[in-house]
């Protein structure tokens, strides 16, 4: 009997806490969008990325990059002068397309939400973009490189990273320039991996190379021993793998164990120090294409790299942190302008103005000049090639596909 009483007491207590929690939340929500007594307006920036499952490594980089951008902006003179502050709300899409749509719907239910930095995986960004566009919320993806995202004709959808229809062909041209004529192409059956591998395949064949065969595997697969044996027997010059570093690193290791000396090449999702840490000596000589010019060369990036390492107590900056940083800045810079002009970004007119303003973005970000074309793709069309030399990514050369 005593137990029952205790249970009831606990239940009531729990209910009370839950209710208070909700009330607190509502009150907080009410305060934000409108100007408070102190004259400061707070807008919400959503960050949607895989945090607990899926491409967690990249997701955390995106979250940290956006967080640093928002904190930097909130401290800046221009935000203080305008009386605007930004608040970050995080959504965890777990790299799952259905969860991504749920996250999108949850984020837009906050009426102070003006923009979203995300999602990471192309398979998440594409369905989620429809939700944001419907709600007139700006979405800037820092990592979805599949061309289809911005070809849907949705308003307010942008990205700060170059697309795979540039990156894949650039990889093929780099490989052919080095005299590597026979390739084997593999992908992880993901929207991103499959897309970039297709573009590589096409460009490689069109420019005089031969693709011996095309294989498919899965994102979570780690055993490639049998596949590696098969590929090694074909003796290719290069193996292109469309996928993330966590899948490609063990692949490269197993290729090496199978006796292959062909370098592995991949896209931006492979361009992480973790790739080398996992692969060890096996990945020496592997290539990666990455969007943008080398970050180290840009003065603005130096400060960002230093601030990032200090803020999160890390030794290195993940690739997508810088794209998320620039994406968040693009939204916030536009929001400040619209706020100045209309006084409230959350009205329908304000939201339309925000989209128009983001479209007109033109500033020096940490990944280069941030501006968008009519589809919402970045005009930064520089693709760089890196190679693993002495256990680090070494810059080889850049190619500007925008110049063509």
């Amino acid at each position: 009997m005593k137990f029952k009483t205790l249970a009831i007491v606990l239940f009531v207590a729990f209910l009370a806490i839950a209710l208070v929690g909700c009330n607190g939340g509502d009150a907080g929500g009410g305060d934000d969008g409108t100007t408070t007594a102190t004259g400061v307006t707070t807008y919400t920036i959503g960050v949607a990325a895989p945090i607990t499952q899926g491409s967690v490594a990249q997701g955390m980089d995106i979250k940290r990059g956006a967080q640093l951008a928002i904190e930097t902006m909130n401290e800046s003179e221009e935000a203080k002068a305008a009386g605007v502050q930004f608040k970050m709300v995080e959504g965890d899409d777990m790299s799952d397309d259905k969860t991504a749509v749920t996250v999108a719907n949850t984020l837009i239910s906050d009426r102070n939400l003006i923009g979203v930095v995300g999602h990471y995986n192309s398979r998440c960004s594409i369905p989620a973009s429809a939700v944001y566009s419907e709600a007139n919320v700006v979405m800037i993806s820092p990592g979805s490189t599949n061309p289809d995202l911005t070809l849907q004709g949705l308003s307010g959808v942008f990205r700060t990273c170059a697309t795979d229809d540039l990156q894949g062909p650039a990889g093929a041209l780099f490989a052919l320039d080095m005299g590597l004529k026979k390739a084997i192409v593999i992908d992880d059956s993901d929207t991103y991996g499959e897309g970039i591998a297709d573009f590589f395949y096409e460009a490689f064949e069109d420019n005089g190379g031969t693709v011996l065969f095309r294989e498919k595997t899965q994102v979570a697969e780690r055993d490639f021993t049998a596949l590696a044996t098969k590929i090694t027997a074909e003796n290719p010059d290069i193996v292109f793998f469309g996928g993330g570093f966590e899948t490609i690193a063990p692949f490269s290791k197993q290729m090496h164990d199978a006796g292959s000396s062909a370098p592995i090449m991949g896209g931006d999702a492979m361009a992480e120090q973790d790739y080398i840490d996992i692969g060890g000596s096996s990945v020496e000589g592997d290539y990666v294409t990455n969007v943008g010019a080398p970050v180290e060369g840009l003065p603005a990036a130096q400060d960002f790299v230093a601030a990032y390492k200090a803020r999160f107590n890390l030794d290195s900056v993940g690739n997508f942190a810088s794209y998320a940083y620039d994406a968040a800045f693009a939204i916030m810079k536009a929001a400040l302008i619209v706020h100045e002009e209309t006084g409230d970004v959350t009205t329908p007119a304000g939201r339309d103005a925000l989209i128009a303003e983001v479209e007109k973005s033109n500033f020096e970000g940490v990944t280069g000049t941030i501006s968008f074309n009519e589809n919402g793709d970045t005009n930064n069309k520089v693709i760089s090639l890196y190679k693993v030399v002495d256990q680090a990514w070494e810059f080889v050369e850049s190619m500007d596909l925008g110049a063509k």
Partner: protein, 318 residues
């Protein structure tokens, strides 16, 4: 011919790991008629414990050297004898810790539900699985962690190398050891009795709780060994690494006849071989269908032998 042998080597290595994990599923099922969905996570936790133990013993920047035991650490990494002793310590410590975790989980999450409807412990197992994954994710890291590249790799012809031989030999020794334990020793006899009829075994004076605890120690301990192999073989561990091998090992257990130890071993090696040979023989560009082939074999086996290859088909009493 050379390539065929290489693929068989690949298949046997993979199969050894599947078999070790599959034993955990089959042991628990044999005794409790319950599918321990958290077993894949025991494999994952085992890999992490192995990683940290190995780092503690071998990495100069970690543990031992910092505790003023630098010479011991140098002995471990500097000589063949040291390496052997170190790996033995790593396997024993990891097996013991993961085994204890298994016992703890049984005590907390399954024992209270032992007489509940059969769905309840299943849900509890899924809960444990999610809990462990998230615990590792939050406390350790979301990124894959590189496994120390310490095992000396000697490359031999036919795709063989010292690590593959080590994995296969150790797996077979452990499998034979477990087989002997179950068929020859007193605790093994108690386990078999419990598996046949829990109530009757209890009436004969067998302590059911300790038998079940022993089962939950052995399964995860073997899973942990497979976890260390996985880390050494594929180079990294990550919090969600249990998923694929877990499903495959469960399939192996079903293929061999779930509840039957030798069946799990056979199923593990068979599944590994089927996967490797499927990749080898499927036309170029169709390697992705290896799982289709593997599951096709499973379906065909189950159609003709619903209890699995070595499983006894239980006749329902009317």
């Amino acid at each position: 011919m050379g390539i065929l042998i290489q693929q068989i080597v690949n298949g046997v290595t993979l199969g050894g790991m599947y078999a070790l994990i599959a034993l955990g599923y089959t042991l628990v099922y044999g005794i409790l008629l319950m599918i321990n969905f958290a077993h894949a996570e025991m494999f994952m936790v085992g890999a992490y414990i192995g990683l940290f133990t190995l780092k503690f013993l071998s990495d100069p920047a970690w543990g031992m050297a910092r505790l003023g035991l630098g010479p011991v650490q140098e002995f471990f990494t500097g000589s063949v004898l040291g390496l052997i002793i170190m790996f033995i310590i790593v396997f024993i410590v990891t097996g013991a810790l993961t085994g204890l975790l298994g016992v703890l989980i049984e005590r907390v999450a399954y024992r209270p539900l032992r007489n509940a409807p059969r769905l309840a412990p299943l849900i509890s197992a899924i809960g444990v699985s999610i809990f462990l994954q998230n615990a590792v994710l939050l406390w350790i890291d979301s990124k894959p962690i590189p496994f120390p590249d310490i095992f000396p790799i000697v490359t031999l012809p036919y795709g063989l190398n010292s690590l593959k031989i080590f994995i296969v030999v150790t797996s077979i020794v452990l499998l034979l050891g477990l087989d002997t334990l179950v068929s020859r020793t007193k605790i093994g006899k108690a386990m078999r009795a419990t598996s046949q009829d829990r109530g009757a075994a209890q009436l004969m004076g067998i302590n059911i709780n300790s038998v079940i605890a022993a089962t939950f120690f052995i399964g995860p301990a073997l899973g942990a060994v497979a976890g260390i192999f996985y880390g050494m073989y594929y180079g990294a561990v990550i919090f969600n690494m249990g998923f694929f091998p877990g499903i495959k090992a469960f399939t192996a257990a079903v293929l061999g006849g779930i509840g039957n130890l030798r069946g799990a071993m056979l199923g593990g090696f068979m599944l590994g071989m089927i996967e490797a040979l499927a990749v080898g023989f499927l036309p170029a560009g169709y390697s992705g269908y290896k799982d289709v082939v593997a599951f096709l074999v499973l379906i065909i086996v189950l159609i003709f032998r619903p209890g699995g290859l070595l499983g006894e088909s239980v006749v329902e009493k009317v």
